[in-house]
Symmetry: C2
Subunit: 399 residues, 2 copies
């Protein structure tokens, strides 16, 4: 292989393990003399075009372990979606710095950036090995069985709802939890992973893949409340009406604004507060509370899923190994058959991942569209690396 | 001592370690033959007056460990604040069931309940040993150095802000985090415990003990944003204006409502969204996000502070030991002098704790009223049991 330099970047929203993938790239790159310098792109593509890099081969093993365990994107990130012109600038910097290896950790947009740059390099006869390393809390990438980043976010959401359900048992009422996921319901569905008792919440789970009318939503809540005298509900921020229009959009369109008169569709408590208001006013239930889990879902430190962190690192490592032999691609995870959870990695073409998104398959969603199936739990549980066990006493026999 | 029965209850808002206190009571009660039966009051005082109890001496060691590690109040809880009439009913049930020991785990209201019942028993010549076990995430009880429950909530808030600050470095902007605490700022102040680098957030911390005008708030945010091109802000839900009126009340009074037209003062995203709107509109900053940490602060499982869990359990144990010798009281924690964190427990009169609240002392608040001092960090850090170490690379030297 050509001896040349490499660039690695982290793109899009941070996750709890995207730094583990970065460290995977660094530690294998360190071993390969074909990679002279490994440049870390500061704030992803936006740093590349500004020629802003740091030297990653010099980092100590101790620093690498700290990075691997830290949430957020240690190199900084960017939401830029480069077009051809932008990518041409990237390629100029690569040529100037003799960069022949490019590792980009991110979602489907990042795969697409890899794809465009790769095509451009090939057209102009510039030797470049471009590899995409998957990451997303939404779990919405094609080809791969699941995405690094999802397991840790799913663990956070499952833990949060598990604890919240215990809290709701202690002080009964209706509790609404709004969870990340605009188009794919995987993360919201993870709210159900902590359920162990028959009457555990969340009792209702609403995801973007299934529209729900306000009438149906309220009827569902009322039925659960009648049965258990309480109700815990997990709602995706991308929850939509039966006509497919997301509820946050509907709130905005009916002229219902936030406290400052703004229409805010996400990163706010608007949907949670709106739904709580609906339940309070329509069902005349007194104790109604709502939380929006927000950024904690992707940034809370110290609770990485061990499985997720390990796989994220493996994906970073594998990308470098592939790049030593192959021209381009995206790293993907295959789940092996058998009762014990086991995976292996494989390479897929960038075009198979770029820009495309995956939704929750039908077999993961219950018939009513307000909950998940055992098949989903079987799929997602191993990715969390396990959840804390808890106990609640008030239901024990009275004396 | 008289051989008789005992009642234990958990009152007010749950915490991450109130169950550890419960288990402390149970395990020492199990050892004392003076306590024939230990009845767990289902949903606190509301269960006592309805004669709803479960048998706690029969629980296995395995179950007790699971309970001790679980958030929420395993017996169920109640927000009832019993008056004399209510307490008379409680005493009737105690007499009927030959209850001579009463352990009540809760905040200052619970201490007051203990106080009223104790006085009533003494007046009527009914032998009762009434003990209060402290708990609160707000850390606002008098006499004790700190409250069981605070360390774990402080750990959650510190971790949340630590991770959120890393996220904000990766995707810069203004981030507002609204934290529990209507009157005492201890929990919001804990947001600063994860700061290790000079430019780490939260850069601004607003607590109920110091009023701030909207002009000052915006000027503070603008100054930080100019310096760092980002700003992370921790705000107590009880943050007030300079006239002492809480901001949530002001929002309501100016007719600014939530998405459904309701005035909601807490348990909602209203304050966060309002402040985000102010920053966005007044400072013309594009990326402004806000989260309200909500119930996760007291109910997130699996992240108990070891120190807090240990002390909570010690307090429960000690309450039973005191009750074997003394008539009534509240368990309190004394921090011993010296460099190494060490505590011992002592008994104080119920009257010293009942109904009273503590605020952040002046030496914990910076001169500007928008941050905490080293003295606060020294006070609060040991209670968290330590925080995760993290690393961020984008500030490393460029190549």
């Amino acid at each position: 292989m050509t001896k040349a330099n490499a660039v690695v970047g982290q793109s899009g929203g941070p996750t709890g393990v995207i730094n583990a993938s970065l460290v995977g790239v660094i530690e294998v790159a360190k071993k390969h003399s074909e990679i002279a310098n490994l440049y870390g792109a500061v704030h992803a593509v936006s740093g590349i075009v500004k020629d802003q890099f740091i030297n990653l081969k010099k980092l100590s093993a101790k620093t690498l372990e700290l990075v691997a365990g830290s949430p957020s994107s240690a190199l900084g990130t960017s939401r830029d979606k480069p077009d051809e012109e932008y990518c041409a600038k990237i390629l100029d910097v690569f040529k100037k710095r003799d960069v022949r290896y490019f590792f980009y950790i991110g979602g489907n947009d990042s795969a697409n950036t890899c794809f465009i740059i790769n095509n451009m390099a090939q057209k102009t006869g510039y030797e470049l090995h471009a590899f995409h390393v998957p990451k997303t809390v939404d779990n919405d990438l094609l080809v791969t069985d699941h995405c690094p980043g999802y397991g840790t976010a799913a663990k956070f959401v499952a833990c949060a709802c598990l604890g919240d359900d215990l809290d709701n048992r202690a002080l009964p009422g209706v509790k609404i939890d709004v969870i990340m996921g605009r188009h794919a319901g995987f993360l919201t569905a993870a709210a159900a992973l902590g359920k162990t008792r028959d009457d555990d919440g969340p009792h209702l789970v609403y995801i973007p893949e299934r529209g729900v009318s306000m009438e149906k939503f309220l009827a569902d809540v009322e039925a659960v409340y009648k049965k258990y005298n309480r109700c815990v509900i997990a709602v995706s921020e991308g929850m939509s009406d039966v006509d497919g229009v997301v509820w946050t959009k509907k709130i905005a369109d009916t002229g219902e604004k936030d406290a400052h008169g703004n229409i805010q569709l996400s990163g706010t408590g608007a949907l949670a507060d709106f739904l709580a208001g609906q339940v309070r006013n329509s069902l005349k239930i007194k104790r109604v509370r709502a939380d929006t889990f927000g950024y904690l879902q992707r940034s809370f430190p110290g609770i990485q899923s061990e499985v997720d962190a390990k796989e994220a690192r493996m994906c970073g490592r594998q990308a470098v190994k592939y790049a030593m032999k192959e021209q381009s691609g995206s790293v993907a995870i295959k789940r092996l058959p058998g009762n014990k959870y086991k995976v292996e990695l494989f390479r897929t073409d960038l075009a198979n991942v770029a820009e495309k998104t995956k939704s929750m398959p039908n077999e993961f969603i219950n018939a009513e569209g307000n909950g998940v199936t055992d098949a989903f739990v079987k799929y997602a549980m191993p990715l969390t690396g396990g959840l804390p066990k808890t106990e609640y006493l008030a239901g024990y026999p009275r004396v």
